[in-house]
């Protein structure tokens, strides 16, 4: 039994005009204890929504279908009280902005201690001692002196360490991290990611990491799932997905990145068009209108998930053609 299993997860969000928009359109993935999976894609593709659905934090009025199982237990339809009891205890989430994830009016000790008092019934003094241990574990400098500090007295990187300490407080089995280092400086980013990986390893936690940063993912997670328009369009080991990308969207993302070593004045490959807005999904393959490989059949039906290598799949009917073309930016630009 997998720790986490999503099967054909569908989420429809309420629109301002009263209608519903399909935001997740059949997301399936599994995550084993101790494994690391990255969800990658551009804004609006459904990465964060997937995490929020797992956490049970979707906006009011959302409609869910399919299945989300944690430890084999179905979370869809779970009463809010029982979902809340899982949050923090079995699964926890780290958000992008450490400043808005922390309460500016409470000390670090009181914020880290909250889940401990709530879920584990620790006394105030025991929670304080445990908070100190957690702050030391996330390598916050001068941890004991900072127990009574407020978030504004810390730097961005230090705040994110505190957020991670809170997430880890009850030793969750699943850690969801949504762009945990995007707001941090490059040198601090690496430190925070290394810390996350170390903690995940030590506790045997599973990590679902969300990011738009391909290179960061390559160095951090074992498995990678590329999302586009509410679906996983490519899935495999990080090495396979990034070195032999089989879906045209994955190729487009890789080619569009500015890289050190490009000559000054090099034009970057772009993906024509834009991400389809909610409620206006094109028929068939969501990427077809922007795809240089698209043929008429692409828009006729949503493509099946095709195997393209061992443990490597792509939701594209043209993978044979795509894979026969070398993945260079020039190819992607030719239209």
């Amino acid at each position: 039994m997998s720790l986490l299993a999503l099967a054909d997860l569908r989420v429809a969000l309420p629109l301002p005009d009263g209608g519903m928009a399909d935001a997740l359109r059949g997301v399936s993935l599994t995550l084993e204890a101790g494994a690391t999976l990255g969800l990658i894609g551009e804004s609006g593709c459904g990465k964060s929504l997937t995490a929020l659905a797992i956490m049970g934090l979707l906006p009011d009025g959302s409609r869910l279908a399919g299945s989300i199982r944690l430890d084999g237990r179905e979370l869809i339809g779970l009463p809010e009280r029982e979902h809340a009891a899982l949050r923090g205890r079995r699964m926890a989430m780290v958000f992008q902005e450490p400043m808005s994830a922390l309460n500016p009016l409470h000390t670090l000790a009181s914020q880290i201690g909250e889940p401990l008092r709530l879920h584990q019934g620790l006394s105030a003094s025991a929670a304080r001692a445990e908070s100190l241990r957690l702050l030391e574990r996330v390598q916050l400098p001068q941890a004991s002196a900072r127990l009574d500090a407020y978030p504004h007295q810390l730097s961005g990187g230090q705040r994110q360490r505190v957020v991670i300490a809170i997430a880890l407080a009850c030793r969750p089995a699943l850690l969801l991290a949504d762009e945990p280092t995007t707001a941090l400086d490059a040198t601090v980013q690496r430190e925070v990611l290394d810390l996350l990986l170390q903690l995940v390893r030590e506790d045997g936690m599973a990590l679902l990491l969300i990011s738009h940063d391909l290179a960061m993912m390559a160095q951090t997670v074992q498995q990678l799932a590329v999302m586009y328009a509410g679906q996983i369009v490519e899935h495999g080991t990080s090495a396979d997905v990034l070195q032999t990308p089989a879906h045209p969207y994955t190729r487009g993302l890789i080619a569009a990145r500015p890289r050190l070593g490009l000559a000054r004045g090099t034009r970057l490959a772009t993906i024509p068009g834009r991400v389809p807005p909610l409620g206006a999904m094109p028929p068939g393959c969501g990427f077809a209108p922007r795809c240089t490989y698209a043929v008429a059949a692409c828009s006729a039906a949503v493509p099946w998930v095709h195997p393209v290598g061992p443990g490597h799949t792509a939701r594209c009917i043209r993978t044979d053609v795509v894979q026969a073309t070398p993945p260079t930016p020039d190819v992607l630009n030719a239209r």
Partner: protein, 265 residues
């Protein structure tokens, strides 16, 4: 010989923090310390460094939004901070800015055409008909349609909004655009469109960029010269090729080491 487009000498900025106790002297931070550089017309300069290194302070002083505590900023040879209000307003036609967040920098209740035309109306007092024509041209230059002028910001994607912000900077035909993290809020594919546009403006219109970014790969693409700032001081400078291939200063080496390299084949 003409004076250089932008000449910055001995630039320093000190901020006074609030005092902890009434009888103590207020502590000060040195946000910038002895920054010198020269930017020739048509050339572009990249400023890299981490948060707190003084990048944005430098941008604000070059834009004459703040006064330096020491040193001078000369634009076309004129000391920007010694100009009176009218002369400074005239100078602003040579100098425009693009900010990081395309969502926060456009007024949601004004049409795109109104926002783009604003510098033209304020700085040059252009007539309505001329404004409409120049708006259409500026939108065209950033790859948008003239009809987009009648729409509102929420009808555009993040990348399109950043192009609108660039169109607003372009409309007065500036010689220099100060761009503070212009693509860091954008998605990868959209970022590529905006970077290509910036390269076009540099190469076709001869616009100079003072590009502030924490992303070395972005700076590498746009800048002819790069300054590395740490704690308000320039610790290293050079062409992107030499600086990124053979960083000398430990801080530059640390910045480069933090760039994930797996995909940089």
């Amino acid at each position: 010989m003409n004076p250089p487009l932008l000449h910055v000498e001995g630039l320093g900025k000190r901020y006074r923090l609030s005092r902890r106790l009434p009888w103590q002297a207020a502590p000060e931070v040195q946000a910038l310390d002895g920054v010198d550089f020269t930017l020739l017309a048509g050339r572009s300069l990249g400023i890299v460094g981490e948060s707190g290194s003084g990048k944005s302070t430098l941008a604000r002083i070059v834009m004459a939004l703040e006064r330096p505590s020491a040193g001078r900023v000369r634009l076309d040879g004129d000391d920007l901070h010694a100009l009176d209000a009218a002369a400074l307003r005239a100078k602003r036609q040579r100098l425009q800015m693009v900010f990081q967040d395309p969502y926060g920098s456009l007024d949601p209740r004004r049409t795109v055409g109104h926002s783009v035309a604003e510098p033209l109306a304020v700085l040059q007092g252009a007539k309505a008909a001329e404004q409409a024509e120049r708006v259409a041209q500026a939108l065209h230059e950033v790859g948008l349609a003239p009809a987009d002028a009648a729409k509102y910001p929420h009808e555009f994607s993040g990348g399109q909004r950043q192009r609108i912000a660039i169109a607003r900077a372009l409309i007065v035909r500036p010689a220099l655009i100060v761009a503070d993290e212009p693509v860091s809020a954008l998605d990868v594919s959209v970022q590529a469109q905006v970077l290509n546009l910036m390269q076009d403006l540099r190469d076709k219109l001869g616009i100079s960029f003072l590009l502030i970014s924490h992303d070395l790969a972005v700076v590498n693409l746009i800048a002819d010269e790069v300054l590395v700032l740490q704690a308000g001081r320039v610790v290293e400078r050079g062409t992107p090729e030499s600086l990124f291939a053979r960083p000398q200063h430990p801080y530059t080496q640390r910045l480069l080491a933090a760039v994930p390299g797996v995909l940089s084949r």
